[in-house]
């Protein structure tokens, strides 16, 4: 609503300040299957172009700017009551300027032309202040000029079109189902929706208007033992997605809630795992997080080169010349792609913050590491090693108030050529553990050593899924783990998982990212008992 009003109230603003290279006339068709991408609106375009022009006039060699309306809606419940109903909207402008090889950034919630011009000048001034102290040379690989383009997430029902009461009732109904289980004492359930309506522009000649919708359902069910000496929690095996209300209805069903509740109760009496080496069969509901942490983060090129050293750390995947095309990251069955194009992917977009069109590229091929995640600044750092002369389109800012930088795209483990099923993997396993759902996770600052828990665990004996286990976590070294992948499921087992709150950078920014994967088996992984 704020955006509509913004357009209405500022439609009188004149355009005509366009210093954008390449012109704005050539409209490209939208790239997404989304229903109704908004056209570039004149008011937003005027604000971003005003900021670009002011930055350019103040000496910026390259500028990008975005006006965005960021909306979030949350509903949370516990048992039979509502704990939160809230919505937020934040509208503002962010401008990034490159002056004498240094970046400056300024952001304001004030969307007058004067304020937009001031933000453009301020971004340039901040860049200049850095350049004066420490001359640096940022150079950008070329990008196509796309003119005016638009894109929208693929969804059937916009969450903002569904009454809050309906959302809350859906959650309470699920809680009721879970509480029917006599061992279940507590249930928390929640919905979190994000909608971003953004117009961004670059001095390379692209103005992109995009509508991005994301949906994050959650549920957590706790069973407490009769004597109050034990409690066990089972969280839903449902990932967030770049989809709408239809996704909630499809995944957060009474049948699923009943099953999760039964598993929470069953965990109270489950056998405590025997620590030692086990073969692990990891379902997509679990494996996506292991992919995210152990493949996603180490393949961030800025991180590998030390740019994140003071926060998240560096990467074992360095230096690039020692690992690109050389490192046996995993077994031959491991093929990983990066992409921002998948339907329903959390990181899927039309154009990134630098006006780079969404793309798809191989990162690990038959186990060999071949490429990183890149922005325009970064692509040039490794182009002589990869032969890739363009950005992979990974520039992202989590709001108008934060500077764009390299963020993780969707990264997927590709399914095997033969359509092996979960049952096939179980049948082929003599002694192992099947893990469903993501649990505790921790990994070191170079992404060597990790430990993951899960939500539900079953013992496999003689090719059959037998009793439930508990207190399971596994530890491994990243490349040892991926080289231990010895069976992989086929396309029918492939599912998208993902994170709504992936953190990186200083100041910290969140990113939402999907990871598709099939079921997979890992031989001889070190399992510990977390209760001992």
């Amino acid at each position: 609503m704020e955006r509509r009003k913004f357009v209405r109230t500022s439609a009188c603003a004149a355009g005509g300040l366009v210093l954008v290279r390449g012109g704005l006339a050539s409209a490209h068709p939208p790239s997404s299957p989304g229903p109704t991408p908004s056209p570039v609106d004149a008011a937003s375009r005027d604000v971003v172009l005003t900021a670009l022009d002011a930055a350019s006039a103040a000496g910026s060699d390259y500028t990008d700017a975005r006006v965005g309306l960021y909306r979030e809606q949350r509903a949370s419940t516990r048992e039979d009551r509502v704990t939160e109903v809230s919505e937020s909207s934040s509208l503002g402008l962010g401008v990034r300027a490159l002056v004498a090889g240094s970046w400056g950034f300024a952001a304001t919630r004030d969307l007058t032309r004067e304020a937009a011009a001031q933000a453009g000048r301020e971004a340039a001034a901040i860049g200049r202040a850095s350049a004066a102290v420490q001359p640096a040379t940022v150079s950008l690989v070329p990008v196509e000029s796309y003119g005016e383009v638009s894109w929208a997430s693929a969804l059937e029902v916009d969450p903002w079109d569904v009454p809050l009461a309906e959302k809350v009732e859906h959650l309470l109904a699920l809680n009721e189902v879970a509480l029917r289980n006599p061992s279940v004492s507590f249930v928390n359930s929640s919905l979190h929706f994000v909608k971003i309506e953004q117009t961004s522009a670059t001095t390379e000649g692209t103005v992109a208007t995009q509508t991005i919708v994301r949906t994050n359902p959650g549920m957590s069910i706790t069973a407490v033992s009769g004597d109050r000496t034990d409690f066990q929690t089972r969280s839903a095996s449902v990932s967030p997605a770049g989809r709408g209300w239809e996704y909630v209805l499809a995944r957060m069903t009474p049948e699923a809630a009943e099953r999760w509740a039964a598993e929470a109760a069953e965990k109270l009496d489950a056998a405590s795992v025997e620590p030692g080496r086990h073969d692990l069969i990891l379902l997509p509901s679990h494996l996506w997080l292991t992919i995210h942490e152990s493949i996603g983060h180490p393949t961030e090129l800025d991180r590998a080169l030390g740019y994140e050293a003071n926060y998240a750390g560096t990467s074992f995947l360095a230096p690039p010349e020692a690992v690109i095309g050389k490192l046996q990251f995993g077994s031959e069955l491991v093929n990983v792609e990066g992409e921002r194009t998948s339907v329903g992917g959390l990181a899927s977009i039309g154009w990134d913050e630098e006006g780079v069109k969404a793309t798809q590229w191989p990162m690990i091929r038959n186990g060999i590491f071949v490429d990183y995640q890149t922005t325009r600044e970064q692509a040039a750092w490794i182009s002589d090693l990869t032969g890739v002369e363009s950005s992979h389109g990974c520039a992202h800012a989590d709001s108008w108030a934060n500077i764009p930088f390299q963020r993780m795209p969707n990264m997927n483990l590709l399914p095997g050529a033969e359509d092996a099923t979960i049952d096939d993997l179980v049948a082929a396993t003599d002694r192992g553990i099947l893990i469903d759902g993501s649990g505790s996770y921790s990994i070191d600052q170079q992404r060597f050593n990790f430990q993951f828990g899960g939500q539900a665990f079953w013992e496999i004996r003689g090719g059959r899924k037998t009793r439930m286990l508990r207190d399971v976590a596994y530890q491994a070294r990243t490349t040892d783990f991926w080289n231990a992948l010895d069976m992989i499921g086929g396309p029918s087992t492939y599912e998208m998982g993902g994170s709504f709150y992936d953190g990186k950078g200083q100041p910290g920014q969140v990113n939402a990212v999907s990871h598709g994967c099939p079921v997979a088996r890992f031989a001889g992984i070190d399992v510990l008992n977390t209760a001992r």
Binding site: E2, K5, T9, S10, C12, A13, D80, R81, V82, V85, S86, E87, S89, S90, L91, G92, S102, W103, G104, F105, A106, A107, T108, R109, I126, G127, A129, S130, V133, Q134, A136, L164, S185, F186, T222, V224, D227, T229, D230, F231, G306, E308, A309, N310, T314, F316, A401, I403, S440, S442, D444, Q445, Q446, R447, Q451, D471, A473, Q506, P507, L528
Partner: protein, 458 residues
């Protein structure tokens, strides 16, 4: 364009949101609201930062924002909408929307009436030394770190980040409550790494007053730690005596603070649950442990920003005995107790000596200076896993003998504080949350810490 901004940019030195502006905006929203009851939480912040990595400034920026979170209540139904546009049209649209949301929300059985006017303690918190950290000053700090790194013997690269906030929080409601608090905060940290990639050192601090921070000394600490941690020797995983630096202690104790919820304890799903209720009054850790929150003493808001409940000095653990758990207003009423607000600002008392004194009195131990990637493993015992980072050493006969590899660890603050052998003097460490949680913790020595596997990471 008829869009008008309610706020002008801050005058030199003043907060983004003055008390008068806060009053005015709260009044406008309360007047416009048609709800039975309305409350408004305001946050106006100018946030500036500079970041450097591999010995060059990488990014710098600023953002200015004002957010109003409006809560409308009809009987026992309520909803919250947060906005950052304050022209009359946007404001009317927002109060209308939040009213509609609230009417759609179901009755809340845990509804509590709004608080009326409260008595608040006086809290400082605004420091010009921090508010005045402009792009040039921040760049000068970065340049100094880079210069010190380049001058050090050992091919050192420095990476760091300075994050500065200057702003105000305010709260007003239709029951007549109004509260306002301006504050500054600065977080500064840096990581120094050796050229061979085998050594890494870190230093960091969170403070409201930049003039109390010695950034050059921090640079020396990080650089020296990097050089000293180079070429670590291999140490097998296992249980070893441990010396934890103040930053590591703050991270561990912070996990315990987060578990201090009375309701979870009463419901039987907390480390502080007892078969017949909670462990209040029981000894839960070693008798030398005393842990308190005093947000006002640390320059924090004298009120809880969600509802205006007054911030107070709260002892959580005294001499090892669990003295308080946090009671929400609803849960306090259910249990016939006084409400107690949980604060993420805390101070753990200690002894007299420094970290160096603690090392000097130690026969053998692993010295851990920083923990990383801490995640819950078992809430029944507050068991967590995580890693060591940026300087881990073997201490023998009162001295740091040599650097050792990093570890993954699986342990609980409860276990560590039960195995306590020595404490040093508390110092200010990094801030948590959004820069608002100030923490003071001592270094400590414990008889045992569970290092579960080796991490090759540096």
């Amino acid at each position: 364009m008829k869009r008008r901004t309610f706020l002008t940019l801050p005058k030199d030195g003043g907060p983004v949101l003055s008390e008068q502006e806060a009053h005015h905006l709260v009044d406008r929203i309360l007047t416009a609201s048609g709800a039975d009851e309305t409350s408004v939480a305001l946050s106006g912040t100018r946030r500036v930062n500079s970041r450097y990595a591999v010995n060059r400034i990488t990014t710098a920026g600023e953002s200015v924002n004002l957010i109003a979170a409006i809560t409308a209540r009809f009987g026992r139904r309520s909803a919250t909408l947060s906005i950052n546009e304050f022209d009359n049209g946007s404001l009317l649209e927002a109060v209308g929307a939040v009213g509609r949301m609230a009417r759609l929300a179901p009755d809340d059985p845990e509804w509590m009436p709004l608080l009326g006017p409260q008595e608040y303690g006086t809290s400082g918190g605004w420091h010009e030394s921090t508010a005045g950290l402009d792009a040039e000053r921040r760049a000068a700090v970065a340049a100094s770190a880079i210069e010190q790194a380049e001058a050090a013997n050992g091919d050192i690269t420095a990476s760091g980040f300075m994050d500065v906030r200057a702003g105000a929080r305010a709260l007003g409601n239709s029951a007549g409550l109004f509260a306002y608090h301006p504050a500054t905060s600065v977080s500064y940290s840096l990581t120094a790494r050796t050229g061979d990639g085998t050594g890494s050192g870190w230093a960091g601090v969170g403070h409201r007053d930049w003039s109390r921070v010695d950034s050059d000394a921090m640079h020396v600490t990080a650089i020296e730690k990097a050089i000293r941690s180079r070429r670590p020797r291999s140490l097998e995983p296992g249980k070893y005596p441990v010396i934890l630096g103040p930053e590591a202690v703050a991270d561990l104790v912070g996990l315990l603070v987060r578990a201090l919820d009375a309701r979870a304890a009463d419901e039987g799903r907390s480390a502080f649950s007892a078969p017949d209720g909670t462990k209040l009054g029981e000894r839960v850790v070693g008798e030398r442990v005393t842990l308190r929150s005093d947000p006002i003493a640390m320059g924090g808001a004298p009120f809880r920003v969600s509802d205006g409940f007054p911030a107070r000095l709260t002892p959580w653990i005294e001499n090892g005995v669990l003295r308080n758990l946090a009671y929400s207003r609803f849960w306090a009423q259910e249990k016939g107790r006084e409400p107690i607000s949980l604060s993420s600002s805390f101070r753990m008392e200690g002894g007299e000596g420094t970290l160096e004194d603690l090392i000097a009195s130690t026969e053998r131990a692993v010295l851990v200076t920083r923990l990383w990637y801490i995640r819950s493993v078992d809430p029944r015992t507050i068991l967590h896993t995580g890693l060591t980072r940026d300087g881990t050493f073997w201490v023998e006969n009162g001295q740091i003998s040599h650097p050792v590899n990093n570890f993954r660890w699986n342990d609980s603050p409860l276990f560590v504080l039960r195995n306590l052998e020595g404490l040093g003097r508390p110092v200010r460490v990094t801030s948590g949350g959004s820069g608002d949680s100030m923490r003071e913790t001592p270094p400590l020595r414990a008889s045992e810490f569970n290092f579960s596997s080796i991490s090759e990471a540096v």
